[in-house]
Amino acid sequence: MSVDSATVRKIASLARIAVTDDQVEAMVPELNNILGWIEQLGEVDTASVAPMTAVIANTLRLRDDFVTDGGVREAVLANAPANQHGFFGVPKVIE
């Protein structure tokens, strides 16, 4: 499988990374080079293999239902580019 500039543009849009036309043109061969290389994985017969789910055999630990956190609004907002009266400000959104 290989990508063209339209695909690169689409991926960049999905990933929310603005790209210029020049960047797209440069990325097409670069990504194809990498994708071509990783495609050797297709050689491996994995028909009867399960995908790895946990690298070290282990299952999920659950915590008890206690309120142990929150009430740290100052800390949550401390690094905000637009701290608006206790809210995070973002450009106006129309839903």
Partner: protein, 451 residues
């Protein structure tokens, strides 16, 4: 079979409806963080660093949310998956700090189940109908955006962000607004019985994504639209109706239905496309590498099963069978878990079922209605109610006298025996004396009964 259909210029159209219901799991803390879930807190005050997706923060799941999802699954006779796991649903939005929602796509905790909706002749549901439930999975709620606080900015409040939701996904088994409404009402009834969700739709604890398509009877399924976050039974019915109508008109005018996400405007009773979801079609789901597979032990599932209360259908059957109540009374008394609980406390205190049923459904409900109160706010307790019924059954009070005493109980909160004692009320033919006493009590507590 439902005979609901939409009549268009080209004939009759069948409506096909499926619901994805998001029910907030009743828990103290969030699904993956220790922040509180209480409704109505100061903005961003119930947010942990995990909820705000600070760099390096990690999710740790809340056992109670898992337990409640399993109990809900058991309540609808669903498959409980011993092995499930969490996936990430990736998209960018201001109410989603991580840039992904932790959900369960590939291996949900609960599989196939079913919900039975009752016959309701008047609503066009002639016989009970089974609505398939495809799955229940656990996922995180998003934050909240406010658009009216600033001319050029929206404000983000993350208090809800990370609160646990059960997403209960039905099969496209409903064929009318009434069926969709009945299904949602039944689901709400069940989760309230189970205690896994408070069912408060006006606070957003329960909301439905309504999938609607139309087709000519017997034809292939049409393209569906999904109207998001509809927050009442009435609105769900309205959405099915208006969206089906819109689709029929569109198709008959030569257009095609686009698979899209829509929003409902209750003021205008129309749906419109949701702009913020326009390009969110590729969610790139994959297993969340911060979380391991969730493995449920048999003993845990059995504990969940043992903790289930008697469910509404079983209770109703018992009321009509064992207790000998009418189908109507049984339905009314079991409609809401609080009512059933109240009624059964009256029985536990020694009241006779039929008398208690009659009294609760007429006297009590009438009074609560008048007072604008919920049964949980009743000024008279179930034990007091039983005591009152006892005074009637042992002949101390006549029926009409009991009604008068009840009025005093509502006013004063006193026990019926005390009222009878204080006022010297016994069954007597001197109704004039009693009426005088009652008039006196009511005069001293003006206004309240009309509230």
């Amino acid at each position: 079979m439902t005979n609901y259909s939409i009549t268009g210029a080209t004939g009759e159209w069948e409506v096909v409806v499926g619901l994805e219901v998001h029910a907030q799991v009743t828990s103290n803390a969030k699904l993956f963080s220790g922040a509180a879930t209480a409704f109505g807190a100061e903005p961003n005050s119930q947010v942990s660093l995990v909820d705000a997706a600070m760099p390096g923060m990690l999710p740790v799941p809340n056992a109670e949310c898992v337990r409640q999802a399993v109990r809900t699954g058991l309540a609808i006779d669903a498959q409980i998956n011993r092995w499930s796991r969490f996936d990430r649903k990736n998209y960018f939005y201001a109410d989603l700090p991580q840039g992904y929602q932790i959900s369960q796509l590939y291996h949900p905790i609960v599989g196939e189940g079913a919900v039975e909706i009752d016959a309701d002749e008047k609503a066009g549901i002639p016989v009970p109908k089974t609505i398939g439930v495809e799955r229940i999975h656990i996922e995180q709620d998003a934050g909240k955006l406010m658009h009216d606080q600033h001319p050029t900015m929206s404000y983000v409040d993350l208090n809800r962000c990370g609160v646990a939701l059960m997403e209960i996904v039905s099969r496209p088994d409903m064929r009318s607004p009434a069926e969709a409404g009945a299904y949602l009402a039944k689901l709400r009834q069940i989760v309230r019985y189970v205690g896994s969700c408070d069912g408060n739709m006006d606070q957003g604890s329960m909301r439905a994504d309504v999938n609607v398509s139309v087709r000519k009877p017997g034809a292939e399924l049409g393209t569906r639209t999904e109207t998001k976050n509809v927050n009442s039974v009435r609105f769900v019915m309205a959405v099915v109706e208006s969206e089906a109508r819109r689709q029929v008109d569109l198709i008959e005018d030569g257009g095609t239905v686009v698979q899209e996400t829509r929003l409902y405007d209750p003021d205008k009773n129309v749906t419109r496309p949701m702009r913020s979801k326009e390009d969110a079609h590729d969610y790139r789901y994959f297993p969340d590498p911060d979380l391991l597979p969730l493995v449920l032990e048999e003993a845990f599932i059995e504990e969940c099963r043992a903790s289930l209360p008697e469910l509404p259908d079983a209770k109703r059957a018992r009321y009509t069978g064992e207790l000998g109540l009418s189908a109507y009374a049984a339905a009314v008394l079991t409609a809401d878990v609080e009512t059933a609980r109240w009624f059964e406390t009256v029985l536990d205190a020694g009241a006779e079922p039929k008398a208690a049923s009659n009294w609760v459904t007429s006297d009590l409900f009438g009074a609560l209605n008048r007072l604008g109160k919920d049964i949980s706010e009743s000024p008279v307790s179930p034990v007091q109610a039983a005591a009152l019924l006892k005074l009637v059954s042992d002949g101390t009070l006549s029926g009409s006298l009991a009604k008068q005493v009840f009025e005093i109980m509502l006013e004063t909160g006193d026990d019926p025996a005390k009222i009878v004692e204080d006022k010297g009320l016994k069954q007597t033919s001197d109704t004039g004396a009693i009426e005088a006493v009652i008039a006196d009590v009511l005069a001293k507590n003006p206004g309240q009964l009309e509230a």
